[in-house]
C-alpha cells in the first residue's frame, strides 16, 4: 500500500492502482479521458477504465471528484453543456462513441441513463414507458407497444402496482415508484448499458432496497455503471468499485477487495471515513 500524508498522496496521484481494465471482452472502455469545462477548467484527468459485460461498476468518491462527469461522458450527455470538451477515447463494443460518424442520439438509445431525482415526464405511466419506443420506432403496432410497455414494467418490478392505472399520470406515483418508472422507461428502448447517477439518493431506505434488488436483477441483461454516495450500497450491489479523487481515478478493484483490503491509502481513508 502507498503510504504518506494526504497532501503527499494528493501530489503523487499517479496511475490508477488495481484492475481498471478487464481481461475479457469489455462493453464500454475509456482510455486516457480528459474532460474540460470552459476550456481550461479540467474536471477529469487521464482516466482509463473498462465496463465489463453484465457487471455493475460502482463509482464512489467525495463530491466534485468527477464521477458524475465521467458517467455523463459515456452517453455524451455532456454535449448539452456549453463549453464542455472531452479528450481521449471512449468505446462501446469497440466503436469510438466520439467519432464524427456516431450519432449521439442513437448512442443514447444504447446507453440509457437514470438520474438522481426521479424525472418522469408529465404524461401517463404508459406514455412515459412508450416514449422511447415511439421515438425509435421499436414497435410496429399498438399491440407490440403494449407488450413492450408491459415487459419493461415487469422487468422494473412496477407492473403489479401500475397495471390498473397505466393511463394515470406518472408524476402521481411515489418517489420510489417514479424511479422504477424511469428505469422501465430506460430499459424499454433496449439499451446495452444503463448509467445510474445516484439513483437512490432521493429515496427512503425501503424504496432504495427495492431499487437495489432491481439493479441486481438487471445485471443479467445489462451493463450497469452506478454513481453512489452510499458505500454500503456500493458494497451491496457492485462487482467492481472505482474510487475517484479530485478528477483522478485512484483505484479500481473487486468490490470485496476495495472494502476489505484497499490498495491505495486514499481509498482506505475514504471508506473508513477518515478522509475530508
Amino acid at each position: 500500500m502507498r503510504k504518506g500524508t494526504d497532501v503527499e498522496l494528493l501530489q503523487n496521484l499517479g496511475d490508477t492502482v488495481g484492475k481498471p481494465l478487464i481481461d475479457g471482452d469489455s462493453r464500454m472502455s475509456c482510455s486516457k479521458v480528459d474532460v474540460f469545462y470552459n476550456n481550461n477548467n479540467q474536471a477529469i484527468f487521464d482516466i482509463s477504465v473498462d465496463l465489463g459485460k453484465n457487471e455493475i461498476l460502482a463509482m464512489i468518491g467525495p463530491s466534485g471528484c468527477g464521477k458524475s462527469t465521467l458517467l455523463r461522458c459515456l452517453n455524451r450527455m455532456n454535449d448539452t453543456i456549453e463549453g464542455c470538451k472531452v479528450e481521449g477515447e471512449i468505446t462501446l463494443d469497440g466503436i469510438d462513441v466520439y467519432s464524427k460518424n456516431i450519432d449521439p442520439v442513437l448512442l443514447r438509445s444504447n446507453v440509457g441513463m437514470v438520474f438522481q431525482k426521479p424525472n418522469p415526464f408529465p404524461k401517463s405511466i404508459y406514455d412515459n414507458v412508450a416514449y422511447g419506443p415511439r421515438l425509435h420506432g421499436l414497435a410496429r403496432n399498438g399491440a407490440e407497444l403494449d407488450d413492450l410497455v408491459e415487459e419493461s414494467l415487469i422487468k422494473s418490478g412496477l407492473w403489479k402496482e401500475t397495471k390498473d392505472r397505466l393511463n394515470k399520470p406518472g408524476t402521481g406515483l411515489s418517489g420510489g415508484q417514479q424511479q422504477r418508472l424511469c428505469i422501465a422507461r430506460t430499459i424499454a428502448v433496449k439499451p446495452e448499458v444503463i448509467l445510474m447517477d445516484e439513483p437512490t439518493s432521493a429515496l427512503d431506505p425501503i424504496a432504495t432496497a427495492t431499487i437495489e434488488e432491481l439493479m441486481y436483477e438487471l445485471k443479467s441483461s445489462y451493463t450497469i455503471a452506478v454513481v453512489t454516495h452510499s458505500m454500503q450500497q456500493a458494497a451491496r450491489i457492485s462487482d467492481r468499485t472505482a474510487y475517484f479523487h479530485l478528477g483522478r481515478l485512484v483505484e479500481v478493484n473487486e468490490t470485496n477487495k476495495v472494502f476489505t483490503n484497499p490498495e491505495h491509502e486514499l481509498t482506505e481513508n475514504y471508506i473508513t471515513g477518515r478522509f475530508g
Binding site: V105, F115, N119, Y131, R185
Partner: protein, 474 residues
C-alpha cells in the same frame, strides 16, 4: 388657514413630535439604573407622530369631504326660493352659486339676485367652516400629542403598535384599489341598468343591427336608433381571432427558439429588442396600421378581386374591399401582442425543469423531439393561459381598431371589409358633443359592461389554468 397650510403644519408637527418622542426614549436609555426600554427610540418617535397626525388627518379629510354639502344644505335652508326648485334645477343653481362664491370671480355689484345673496352666504359659511376646521384639526393633533407623549413609558410596546399600524396602512392601500374597481363596476352597472330600461336586454344581446344615431327631429328617418350589439362583439372577436392566429404561432415559436435553441448572445440581443416592441404606444401601431398595412391589404384585396373576375370565381369577384379592414387591424394587433405571448411563453418554457430535458435527451430524443413531445406538453397549460391573457388584451385594444378597422358596423366574415369593435363604438359614443343622459351615451356603458364581463371571464380562466400549471412540479 388654507388647507395647504394646515396640511403643512400637520406634517411639520409630525416631524417635531417624532424627534421629541425619540429624545424622550433616548433619555431613558442613558439614565443609569433604569429598567429595560421595550423598543428602540425610533419606534417611540414613529409612535408619537402617528398618534399626533393620523387622527387629525382623518378629521381633516372627513371635514373637507362633507363640508360643501353641509354648507349647501344650510344655505338652501335660508332661502325659500331655492327650496322650491326641483332636484336638477337646484343642482344647477348650486353650481352657479359655487362659481360665484369662488374668490376668483368678483360678483358684480348690480347682481343682487337670490343667487348672489346665496353665494355671499355660502362664502361666509365656508370661511367659518375653514376656521373651525383648522381649530378642530389642530386641537385633535395637540390632544393626540399630549396623550401619547406624556403617557409613553419604557414599557410602552411602541414597536408592536407601529407594526400593527403598518399592517393597517398596507391593508387600507389594498382596500382603496379594490374599492376603486368596485366603484367603476358599480357605476357602469347602474348606467347599464338605466340603458336596459329603454332598450330590452334581448335586443341588445341578439340584435344584429347597430346604428346608435338618435334623430334630432321627431320625423327624421330611423329616429329610434338600433342597439343590436352582435356586430360589435363579432367585430371584436373577428379581429382578436386574426390577431391571435398571427401572434400565437409567431410568439410561441420565437419563445421556443429563444429559450431552447438561441445562444446567450442572441438571447441578450433579441429579448431587449422585443421589450422595446412591447413598449411602443398602441397609437403608433394604429397609424402604422392605417397608413401602411391598411393600403397594402386593400391592394391585395383588389388583386384578389381581379383574379376572381379573370378566373370567374364568384366569391372573389364580388369581394368587398375597403381601406379600413378587419385584416389590417388584426395583423397589426397581432404584431402588438407578439412580445406579450413571447415573454409569457418564454417564462413557462423556462419553468419546465431541466430534469425533463435531461430525461428526454438521455432517452435518445433529438432536441426538437424533446421540445415538442415533452417541453411543450408540460408547458401547455401555461402557454394556453398566456394566450388567453393576450386575447383579453386584444379584445380591450382600442386605438388600432379605431384607426384601422373603421367605425362601420358590418356583420361580415370578409376580412377585407371594415368592421367595428366594442371599444371603438364606446369611443365614438362618448367623444364629441354628447348629451349625458341619452340612450346613445348609456349604450356605451352597456357595451363597457359586456366587454368587462368578457375579459373578466377570460382572465379568470387564464389565471386558473396558469395556477394549475404552477402546482404541477411542486
Amino acid at each position: 388657514m388654507s388647507d395647504l397650510n394646515l396640511f403643512s403644519v400637520l406634517i411639520l408637527s409630525a416631524l417635531i413630535v417624532f424627534f421629541l418622542s425619540q429624545k424622550k426614549a433616548k433619555n431613558w436609555q442613558t439614565s443609569a439604573g433604569s429598567e429595560r426600554v421595550h423598543s428602540l427610540p425610533v419606534y417611540y418617535g414613529y409612535f408619537g407622530s402617528i398618534w399626533t397626525v393620523i387622527p387629525a388627518l382623518f378629521v381633516f379629510a372627513f371635514w373637507s369631504f362633507f363640508s360643501t354639502n353641509v354648507i349647501s344644505t344650510m344655505v338652501v335652508g335660508q332661502f325659500v326660493e331655492l327650496q322650491a326648485l326641483d332636484k336638477s334645477s337646484l343642482s344647477l343653481a348650486l353650481n352657479e352659486i359655487y362659481l360665484m362664491s369662488d374668490a376668483s370671480i368678483v360678483p358684480s355689484l348690480s347682481d343682487n339676485t337670490i343667487k348672489a345673496q346665496a353665494a355671499n352666504l355660502f362664502m361666509q359659511y365656508s370661511q367659518y367652516s375653514a376656521i373651525f376646521k383648522s381649530i378642530t384639526v389642530l386641537a385633535i393633533a395637540a390632544l393626540g400629542f399630549i396623550l401619547t407623549y406624556w403617557r409613553i413609558t419604557p414599557t410602552t410596546k411602541a414597536r408592536n403598535s407601529v407594526e400593527n399600524i403598518v399592517v393597517y396602512a398596507l391593508l387600507s392601500c389594498a382596500v382603496i384599489a379594490i374599492l376603486t374597481t368596485a366603484g367603476i363596476i358599480f357605476s357602469v352597472l347602474l348606467e347599464s341598468i338605466e340603458f336596459f330600461k329603454t332598450i330590452p336586454v334581448s335586443d341588445f344581446l341578439f340584435g344584429t343591427h347597430w346604428s346608435p344615431q338618435i334623430a334630432l327631429r321627431e320625423d327624421q328617418a330611423g329616429s329610434s336608433g338600433a342597439f343590436g350589439a352582435v356586430p360589435l362583439f363579432w367585430g371584436t372577436i373577428f379581429i382578436s381571432l386574426i390577431a391571435i392566429i398571427i401572434a400565437g404561432p409567431l410568439g410561441l415559436i420565437s419563445a421556443i427558439y429563444l429559450s431552447e435553441y438561441a445562444s446567450k448572445r442572441v438571447r441578450s440581443i433579441v429579448k431587449p429588442v422585443l421589450e422595446i416592441l412591447a413598449g411602443v404606444p398602441t397609437v403608433v401601431y394604429g397609424f402604422f396600421a392605417a397608413l401602411t398595412i391598411g393600403p397594402l391589404v386593400r391592394d391585395f384585396g383588389y388583386w384578389l378581386r381581379e383574379m376572381g373576375v379573370n378566373l370567374d370565381i364568384q366569391i372573389l369577384a364580388n369581394l368587398t374591399v375597403s381601406t379600413e379592414s378587419a385584416l389590417a387591424a388584426g395583423l397589426v394587433m397581432g404584431m402588438m401582442i407578439v412580445p406579450f405571448i413571447l415573454s409569457l411563453s418564454d417564462d413557462v418554457i423556462a419553468a419546465v425543469p431541466d430534469s425533463m430535458r435531461d430525461g428526454s435527451t438521455a432517452m435518445g430524443a433529438t432536441k426538437s423531439e424533446t421540445v415538442w413531445k415533452v417541453i411543450i406538453p408540460a408547458a401547455l397549460p401555461g402557454i394556453v393561459g398566456g394566450f388567453l391573457l393576450a386575447i383579453s388584451r386584444a379584445i380591450g385594444e382600442t386605438m388600432i381598431v379605431l384607426m384601422a378597422a373603421g367605425v362601420a358596423s358590418n356583420l361580415t366574415a370578409n376580412p377585407m371589409n371594415s368592421v367595428t369593435t366594442v371599444t371603438t363604438q364606446i369611443v365614438t359614443l362618448l367623444t364629441g358633443d354628447q348629451e349625458f343622459d341619452s340612450v346613445k351615451t348609456l349604450a356605451a356603458f352597456a357595451l363597457g359592461l359586456g366587454l368587462f364581463i368578457t375579459t373578466l371571464v377570460l382572465n379568470i380562466i387564464a389565471l386558473h389554468v396558469v395556477r394549475r400549471y404552477r402546482e404541477q412540479y411542486e
